[in-house]
């Protein structure tokens, strides 16, 4: 498989999952695909982490799940954002932006 697979920063997985669900409810596979696609194949989720993350987010009340039928008539569990999840996403995004801006500034600083 792709060698330059991006290792996710600790704690960012939950944010990415929430982000992926921002537009519409999706099943686990869909979330993997969506993130891969958006990151232009850089970020590939280890499945070992995705499902625990989904259950964790559900337990925390940020997402809910329900069984539905896919476009080719397969039963699948769909996840969708709750209102609390949307708020959480906004908070995390704001935090992330602040942090990454700061990190970028540090990295861009010219050596004295």
């Amino acid at each position: 498989m792709t060698k330059d697979r991006g290792d996710l920063l600790q704690g960012t997985l939950d944010m990415l999952v929430l982000k992926a669900l921002q537009l519409e409810p999706m099943h686990g596979w869909g979330i993997t695909e969506r993130i891969e696609q958006w990151s232009e194949q850089v970020l590939q989720l280890g499945q070992g982490t995705l499902y625990p993350a989904l259950y964790r987010l559900e337990r925390q009340g940020f997402i809910t799940s329900g069984w539905d039928v896919t476009e080719n008539s397969r039963r699948a569990r769909y996840y969708s954002l709750t209102r609390q999840g949307r708020r959480q996403l906004e908070t995390e995004l704001a935090q992330w932006r602040r942090a990454s801006r700061a990190i970028n500034k540090v990295l861009d600083a010219s050596a004295p």
């Binding site: 498989m1 099943h27 686990g28 596979w29 993997t32 280890g46 499945q47 070992g48 982490t49 499902y51 625990p52 989904l54 259950y55 964790r56 559900e58 337990r59 925390q60 009340g61 069984w67 397969r74 039963r75 699948a76 569990r77």
Partner: protein, 896 residues
């Protein structure tokens, strides 16, 4: 709020666990299929596509396990785990568990027992509908006498019932007795005499039949009675058809109109019969305050408004009725009504004492808590290695703290359960340790409020003693312990400091309790030391008899009957004195009226002072042992010839004439129209209201008089015989007394069979109850405190065995070695006693109202308690110290 939602979700997920498990399987399968599809589209062979899909996904089982971890209800399961672990740990240390549980059971049990009493007496509302609206009505007449307030008279009831604007119901009641002579043996019963408004005010409906109404109390109507449930079952076997029957009470037929329910209790009275008070407005006067008033406030009326309303009605009452025969009506002018909550009136002074007890027992609980904390601390030290290991394996500090805490909560609940059992047993023996001084004693039960209290106390106790070792679990300390190979020297020093603090604190608290018990003991001794005005009360048998009008109608014939009985009683073997009185001293049987002196102009007598009256037969003073100070006793001739004579108490003689001798020959009377009566004797004071109160001045009148209080001839039909004999109180003696009396009149029943010592004991009941309770509390505190000191010293000996061995090897003598440890114990004790002294000086102020003949700062008590405590502490530390001195240096050094 968030944790609640979280807990709910976890609980829900626990329930849906199987569901989720199946879902997860399906979900993963779906995922892998899609991945395979994708791989196929990328041009792989089906087999390869499948293999790659699985590879990408990783270990299915591992993913499932990690996912399961996410929805596992961690907190709940862990708590159950902690609980199981705690129970197991406690079972592994049975001695510790037993010691801690017993200590806690004592502390919590004592606290629960006292709280049960406080709850039953002070907190619970009276068992009547809307009991807060019930008030007691009393009156004081400030100008005339400074005595305790009196109740109400019937003329007041009539005026108040007609004129009041603040009561929904108003009534009067009094206790009495009667003889049921309904065939068979005459039976003496207790009665509750009430006006119609009283039962309506408390609102208890009869179980069968009807209530009294106004016609029942009108003169000339048929006489009626309501039976109490207990009496109805005992005497009539619960006969449903009883209503409408007639029973003979005091030889007069009365119509049974109802039966009260089994739950009926009127304040502290449990009467056999309820009788209506007869009110004949044509014959009512001012005065005769022989009833207690009770009223139910109308909705929205405050006690202050009711009080104002009563003050408005007092002049109306004065204007409406003639004065009591021979009494100056001006004497009633200063009558002031007193409205108090019925509950407060019933509780009286018991509240103070009970709160002192509650505080006392709280201290015992604190000491027990400190002891258990010490035990837990020692145990924590012993288990340190296990805890450190757990910490090293990744258990967080919070996790460890929770584990210790859960274990302690289990301990607290164990102690609480055992304590509840102890409390229940203790309340069972309450009557034996003198509950006579406690009002509402029948309402003391372990109810839900008590159970909640016990639970809260158990858990908070566990939190207190449990948090001390948790506090010493700081991670820094754990790390240090690991480094020092599990021995934890610096750490244990800190813990020793906590232990010392606990031990000294325990002694300080024990000191406070011992001082309180000491003061109570002084009070009790001081009370016992006051000569009550009679001697050897245990040898004075008292029995009350009533000669009804139906039996002996002419008043003149009552005295000969009574004298015939006295003669029979005097002839009994071993009887050294016999007489009778209208009312027994110290028994709360009081009769009071005003007194006028002949030798002072009436204008200078400031109204007519109201004094206690007692009607006695000749030989009364000699029989009960009241000293004759001057003059002489009544003689039978005085009574038979109806001479106008009187005897007064010494304090009354001094008040009126300065000298007892000067009283002889002076003349007094009880009303303006009565004949003057000559004082022929002066006798010693009797502490009629209990020895802790001043002896009231008393006028003794002969048992038969002419023209007394407006009656042509005044006799006592209900009298109490006093018989002095060393056999008083025994069954055989009482049955001989019964025979002697029935040989004169077979139909007369004996009532209130008791000795004068019983009466005297009851007057001390409140004090002796407080003394017993405080002594129990103080002894518990002492024992626990001493165990505390012993524990600290013994532990430090065990810790320093090696050091002792080296010192012994270097030539330290046994005395020196033992001295080190005894000094340590004594130092702790001194610190504790010093704090205790200060604490006691503050705390004992609260019990000032319970003391007599001593002060809260009684130097003697403080000194004895302080020295005693230090002495006992020295002894307690000597025992382990001697063990230290016996350490064999060779053994110790070889052991290393």
């Amino acid at each position: 709020m968030r944790w609640m939602a979280e807990t709910w979700r976890r609980l829900r997920s626990l329930a849906r666990r199987d569901n989720l498990e199946l879902g997860l399987d399906e979900e993963i399968r779906f995922h892998i299929e899609r991945q395979t599809d994708k791989n196929l589209r990328a041009g792989m062979t089906p087999a390869e596509a499948r293999r790659q899909a699985h590879l990408t996904f990783g270990g299915v089982e591992r993913v499932k396990e990690r996912t399961r971890d996410e929805f596992r209800p961690v907190l709940l399961q862990d708590s159950l785990l902690d609980l199981r672990y705690g129970v197991r740990a406690l079972r592994r240390a049975p001695v510790f568990t037993l010691a801690a549980t017993l200590t806690l059971a004592l502390g919590i049990g004592a606290t629960t027992a006292v709280f049960t009493v406080v709850n039953g007496v002070l907190i619970k509302p009276l068992p009547f509908r809307d009991a807060d609206a019930l008030v007691s009505l009393k009156h004081t007449a400030a100008d005339v006498n400074g005595g305790p307030p009196v109740g109400m008279c019937l003329s007041m009831l009539v005026t108040y019932a007609r004129e009041n604007r603040s009561f929904e119901q108003i009534g009067v009641w009094s206790r009495g007795s009667g003889t049921v002579t309904d065939g068979g043996v005459p039976e003496e019963v207790t009665t509750l005499n009430v006006s119609a408004g009283t039962l309506r005010a408390v609102g208890v409906q009869p179980a069968i039949g009807r209530w009294f109404s106004e016609p029942d109390q009108a003169p000339g109507s048929p006489e009626t009675v309501i039976l109490a449930d207990g009496y109805w079952r005992r005497r009539f076997g619960g006969d449903q058809a009883i209503v409408g029957r007639q029973i003979a009470i005091d030889s007069r037929p009365r119509l049974v109109i109802g039966v009260m329910p089994a739950s009926f209790r009127f304040l502290d009275e449990t009467p056999d019969l309820v009788l209506p008070v007869r009110i004949d407005p044509a014959r009512l006067t001012l005065g005769g305050f022989n009833y207690d008033g009770i009223a139910r406030l109308a909705a929205g009326v405050t006690r202050e408004q009711a009080d104002a309303d009563l003050r408005r009605m007092v002049p109306l009452w004065m204007a409406a009725w003639p004065s009591f025969p021979g009494i100056d009506r001006a004497a009633f002018a200063g009558t002031i009504p007193l409205v108090r909550p019925l509950k407060q009136e019933l509780i009286g002074g018991a509240g103070d004492m009970l709160w002192v007890l509650m505080g006392t027992i709280g201290i015992v609980l604190a000491i027990a808590c400190a002891n258990v904390a010490n035990l837990v601390l020692v145990r924590a030290q012993a288990r340190q290695h296990a805890l450190v290991l757990q910490a090293a394996l990744g258990a967080g500090r919070g996790r460890l703290a929770r584990q210790v805490l859960v274990e302690n909560l289990v301990l607290g609940l164990l102690g609480g359960t055992a304590g509840l059992a102890l409390a229940a047993a203790g309340l069972g023996v309450l009557p034996a340790i003198g509950s006579a001084g406690i009002p509402r004693v029948r309402e003391i039960t372990i109810d839900p409020i008590v159970l909640i209290f016990t639970l809260v106390v158990s858990l908070s106790t566990a939190l207190v003693f449990g948090s001390i070792p948790v506090f010493t679990l700081a991670p820094r300390r754990l790390a240090m312990t690991l480094r020092s190979g599990g021995r934890g020297s610096s750490d244990s020093r800190e813990r020793n400091r906590v232990r010392n603090l606990l031990a000294a604190g325990q002694l300080a608290l024990a000191m406070i309790l011992l001082v309180a018990a000491g003061l109570m003991m002084r009070t009790f001794l001081a009370l016992r030391h006051v000569p009550p005005g009679f001697t050897e009360p245990a040898h004075v048998q008292l029995v009350r008899i009533t000669i009804p009008e139906t039996d002996v109608s002419e008043p003149e014939r009552v005295l000969p009957v009574q004298r015939a009985m006295l003669d029979r009683l005097a002839a009994m073997p071993g009887v050294t004195g016999v007489s009778f009185t209208g009312n027994v001293p110290m028994a709360g049987e009081r009769s009071r009226s005003s007194i006028v002196r002949e030798d002072v102009p009436i204008a200078d007598q400031r109204g007519s002072p109201i004094r206690w009256f007692r009607y006695v037969a000749p030989g009364y003073f000699q029989t009960i042992g009241t000293r004759l100070v001057a003059g002489r006793d009544f003689t039978w001739t005085d009574l038979e010839a109806r001479r106008d004579v009187a005897v007064v108490s010494e304090n009354l003689a001094r008040e009126f004439w300065r000298e007892p001798q000067a009283a002889i020959g002076k003349r007094i009377r009880e009303g303006d129209t009565s004949p003057w009566r000559e004082v022929v004797g002066v006798v010693g004071d009797v502490y009629d209201e209990g020895v802790h109160r001043a002896a009231p001045p008393i006028v003794y009148w002969p048992a038969v008089m002419e023209s007394f209080q407006g009656q042509p001839i005044n006799v006592r039909r209900a009298v109490t015989f006093a018989i002095r004999s060393s056999r008083a109180g025994s069954e055989s003696f009482v049955s001989q007394v019964r025979e002697a009396i029935s040989s004169v009149r077979p139909e007369i029943a004996l009532t209130r069979v008791r000795t004068l010592a019983d009466v005297y004991g009851r007057s001390l009941a409140a004090t002796s109850f407080a003394l017993v309770m405080l002594t129990i509390a103080a002894s518990m505190a002492l024992v626990l405190g001493i165990i505390g000191i012993y524990g600290v010293v013994a532990y430090s000996v065990a810790q320093r065995t090696r050091e002792i061995g080296i010192r012994a090897a270097l030539g330290a003598s046994r005395g020196e070695l033992a001295g080190t440890f005894v000094r340590r114990g004594v130092t702790l004790a001194c610190a504790g006693v010093a704090c205790g002294l200060a604490g006691a000086a503050v705390v004992t102020r609260l019990m000032a109202s319970l003391l007599f003949g001593t002060r809260p700062l009684d130097a003697g008590v403080y000194a004895v308690v302080a020295l005693g405590l230090i002495g006992v502490a020295a002894l307690a530390s000597y025992v382990p110290a001697r063990a230290a001195a016996r350490v064999d240096p060779l053994c110790v050094l070889r052991g290393e």
